[in-house]
């Protein structure tokens, strides 16, 4: 059986549930009614605000997180590994949870301003810079800078002329990622923003859900796709130009320096304070708000989760959405493992067709969640494939977002398997399929479990696409949280905090478990 046949299922899935909806958006957007929107000044104000907040968020994230990238990867701090894992937690949290956390800690008068959005974006993307830039920083041989020092360069000059050029590709990559995330940020802006902070994502949602202006929403989605494509092309060019094709890793593992001088202590302390104030405090505030009833402590809001008090007949009891979310998450994990696993095998075992599939499968990650949800909504609402009101729409959308993650975790493991192992098995009398099943499959099983964990977590927190597709009577946790937030009164507000706390704990547990499993599978493989 040729290897590319394995890629057939993922390829068909991507064509039907990603390419078709996007093509549909393009077709709808080209209508005259939609295009007339481009002449409105209000639209260009939205574009401008989207760009401004993305650029500002990216710059602020870099400034705040670069010292963290350095300290957490270069200083021999006690508990450094634990700290690195904890710093990653905000990144995997659902956007809605983050929004609620900042509502819990910041004064109410700040809500609806650009500043809250900027701070929340720094919170979210701190880990991107620490992992991407710091990951490289931790590997650069520290003796390059030492060599520069003995040639007469001051510490600052050694950084500027040696370390910085070596670091630049990673900084560019992190900048591109943070820009992408903040440009298409939806949940955070919806929960923390106001009438003055409408981004393209929010406007697409508002036009679809509230104004029922589908052609208008399509034009905005096309506009956003074009801008994202432009940004990705430019950064790919820049990265190709600044890449240093050379081994810069330290041969020995000793790249960590002891924290000895006063300056080093001050820098390390500054980073720790940043982590506590920026990353830990909002999450702690979220938990506290869920048990703070008026002037005393209590579980009123938690109890309200199961009762009709927090909900009216139109609303489903908040606790019910826990069951809904878990069901979707399990379905997403199953779909993603099958599709992502098949895609990984096809990419690993076949040449050119595999590379095309690899690129195609990554596309949904570069597309905004709102576009994905909107596309699915307008494509499958009529024949030939009418899925209106079907439960499967939500896990399908989640699978589109999760497959790239499964692919990226699985592929390196598959590629690292020595093909001679299979030949040994064959020489011992195993038929090709049996050879594969006895050599590759045991390794694949473990890494697919890791991918399933990530897919599960993605599904729990996904909001941008879900908000278009979830049925009124079966809201997911993030959707339910936003609904509670829109209702007046102290009890729904507190119940939203409690539900967000619950969602935070489950998501973080799923991701940390997957990461722990991944760490072990690397040792084993």
């Amino acid at each position: 059986m040729p290897a590319w046949l394995l890629g057939l299922v993922p390829a068909v899935f991507l064509c039907v549930f990603f390419a078709w909806p996007v093509a549909n958006i393009l077709a709808r957007g080209a209508s005259t009614q939609g295009l007339s929107l481009l002449r409105r000044q209000q639209l260009w104000r939205i574009v401008e605000f989207t760009l401004v907040q993305a650029v500002a968020s990216t710059a602020l994230t870099l400034v705040v997180a670069m010292p963290g990238a350095y300290v957490l990867n270069r200083y021999a701090l006690p508990g450094r590994r634990v700290l690195l894992a904890l710093v990653t937690v905000p990144f995997v949290l659902p956007t809605v949870v983050v929004g609620l956390a900042f509502r819990a800690i910041l004064p109410a008068s700040w809500i609806g301003t650009i500043w809250v959005i900027l701070i929340a974006h720094v919170f979210f993307n701190y880990a991107v810079v620490v992992r991407v830039v710091g990951g490289l920083w931790g590997q650069i041989d520290p003796r390059y800078a030492l060599a520069a020092r003995t040639l007469g360069a001051s510490p600052w000059s050694a950084f500027r002329t040696v370390t910085w050029p070596l670091l630049r590709p990673a900084v560019l990559a992190a900048t591109a990622l943070v820009f992408l995330f903040t440009f298409t940020s939806f949940g955070v802006v919806l929960v923390l923003g106001g009438p003055d902070t409408v981004t393209l994502e929010v406007e697409i949602y508002l036009r679809t859900a509230e104004l029922l202006d589908l052609p208008g929403a399509a034009v905005l989605a096309v506009l956003q796709l074009l801008m994202l494509g432009l940004v990705l092309t430019v950064t790919a060019r820049l990265q190709a130009r600044s890449a240093v094709a050379q081994r810069i890793r330290a041969p020995s593992a000793r790249t960590l320096t002891a924290v000895a001088t006063l300056g080093q202590r001050a820098l390390a302390a500054g980073v720790l304070v940043t982590i506590i104030v920026l990353l830990a405090a909002p999450l702690a505030a979220l938990v506290l708000r869920s048990v703070r009833v008026g002037d005393s402590w209590g579980l009123t809001f938690w109890r309200a989760l199961g009762s009709v008090d927090a909900s009216t007949t139109r609303f489903v009891a908040p606790l019910d959405s826990v069951r809904v979310s878990l069901q979707y998450a399990v379905a997403t994990a199953a779909f993603s493992v099958v599709i992502g696993g098949l895609a990984a095998c096809a990419v690993a075992y076949s040449g050119r067709a595999g590379r095309v599939l690899d690129a195609g499968a990554m596309l949904p990650l570069g597309t905004s969640a709102v576009t994905v949800g909107f596309g699915l909504l307008i494509t499958f609402d009529r024949a030939p494939v009418d899925l209106r009101g079907s439960w499967i729409m939500v896990p399908l959308a989640h699978t589109l977002v999760a497959v790239p993650l499964v692919l990226r975790t699985t592929l390196p493991v598959l590629r690292s398997i020595d093909p001679r192992l299979r030949q040994v098995a064959a020489s011992l009398g195993a038929a090709p399929v049996r050879a594969w099943a006895t050599v590759d499959l045991p390794l694949l099983r473990r890494v697919l479990a890791v991918g399933a964990g990530f897919a599960f977590a993605v599904s729990l927190g996904e909001f941008g696409a879900t908000v278009f597709l979830a049925r009124t009577d079966t809201p997911t946790l993030p959707v339910q949280i936003v609904r509670l937030l829109s209702r007046p009164g102290q009890v729904p507000y507190g119940a939203a905090m409690a539900l967000a706390t619950l969602l935070m704990v489950v998501t973080a547990a799923a991701v940390l478990a997957a990461e722990a499993l991944q760490g072990r599978s690397r040792v084993g493989g």
């Binding site: 020092r149 360069a153 040696v162 050379q246």
Partner: protein
């Protein structure tokens, strides 16, 4: 290698008298997380002397060189030059060149960029840098290599470029940390002879660290074992 008469005088008037020590290391001690690396080491180098320092790997040779270069602060003891304590002098102001075992050429710069690095950070103008770079490349017999990417160099060539880079800012002391450790025997012997000749032509004192007795004999005016430098308890 070529004669160096056409090169500018490498160091200024701070050359020590013949009977004086240029570099003096006294009682230097270093410990990493409780493990003693250097135990009160004393060593001195004369103004024109090439000292070969012999010791097995892991004996603290590189650590001693880092202390001398000012890249590592010792727990005790002092490093002085011409009788002046260097404790308050930062690495980049000591004018001590250092050549590592793996050449550690800057991967984002070409050969000329590497050799001229020290001159550029010292603020020399481009023409002077270019002139000095080509002189030094001639000196290490790599004339015309300036535009080459460092990734294309062989191990021996990379090490020669590293040597030229360290010599370019005219250091008053050269520290060589097993500079031929990664090369094969043949090349190693040839480079050892070349380096000895070069250092004597330039009159630059040097500390050459190695674990290889034959190499130490080839390069050094004097050979000492690191284990003999610690003070008796």
């Amino acid at each position: 290698m070529r004669a160096v008469s056409e090169l500018p005088e490498p160091t200024g008037g701070d050359r020590a008298g013949v009977d004086r020590r240029a570099l003096a290391v006294t009682g230097v001690a270093v410990a990493f997380s409780g493990r003693t690396i250097l135990d009160r080491v004393d060593v001195a180098v004369g103004p024109d002397e090439v000292l070969a320092l012999l010791g097995p790997s892991g004996s603290g040779k590189s650590t001693l060189l880092q202390v001398i270069a000012g890249l590592l602060r010792p727990d005790a003891g002092q490093v002085s030059w011409d009788g002046r304590d260097l404790a308050a002098v930062a690495a980049h102001r000591r004018r001590f060149g250092l050549v590592f075992q793996d050449a550690l050429l800057f991967p984002h710069l070409d050969v000329a960029g590497n050799v001229g690095y020290g001159l550029k950070v010292a603020g020399q103008d481009r023409q002077r840098v270019a002139r000095r770079v080509s002189e030094l490349l001639d000196l290490v017999e790599l004339g015309g290599y300036g535009g080459r990417a460092v990734a294309t160099l062989s191990g021996g060539e990379a090490q020669r470029v590293a040597l030229a880079r360290a010599l370019a800012p005219a250091p008053r002391l050269l520290l060589l940390d097993e500079p031929f450790g990664a090369l094969d025997r043949d090349l190693r012997d040839r480079l050892a002879v070349d380096v000895r000749a070069l250092l004597h032509q330039l009159g630059t004192p040097a500390v050459h660290v190695t674990h290889d007795l034959a190499e130490a004999d080839l390069v050094g005016d004097r050979v000492v074992r690191l284990s003999d430098l610690s003070r008796p308890v």
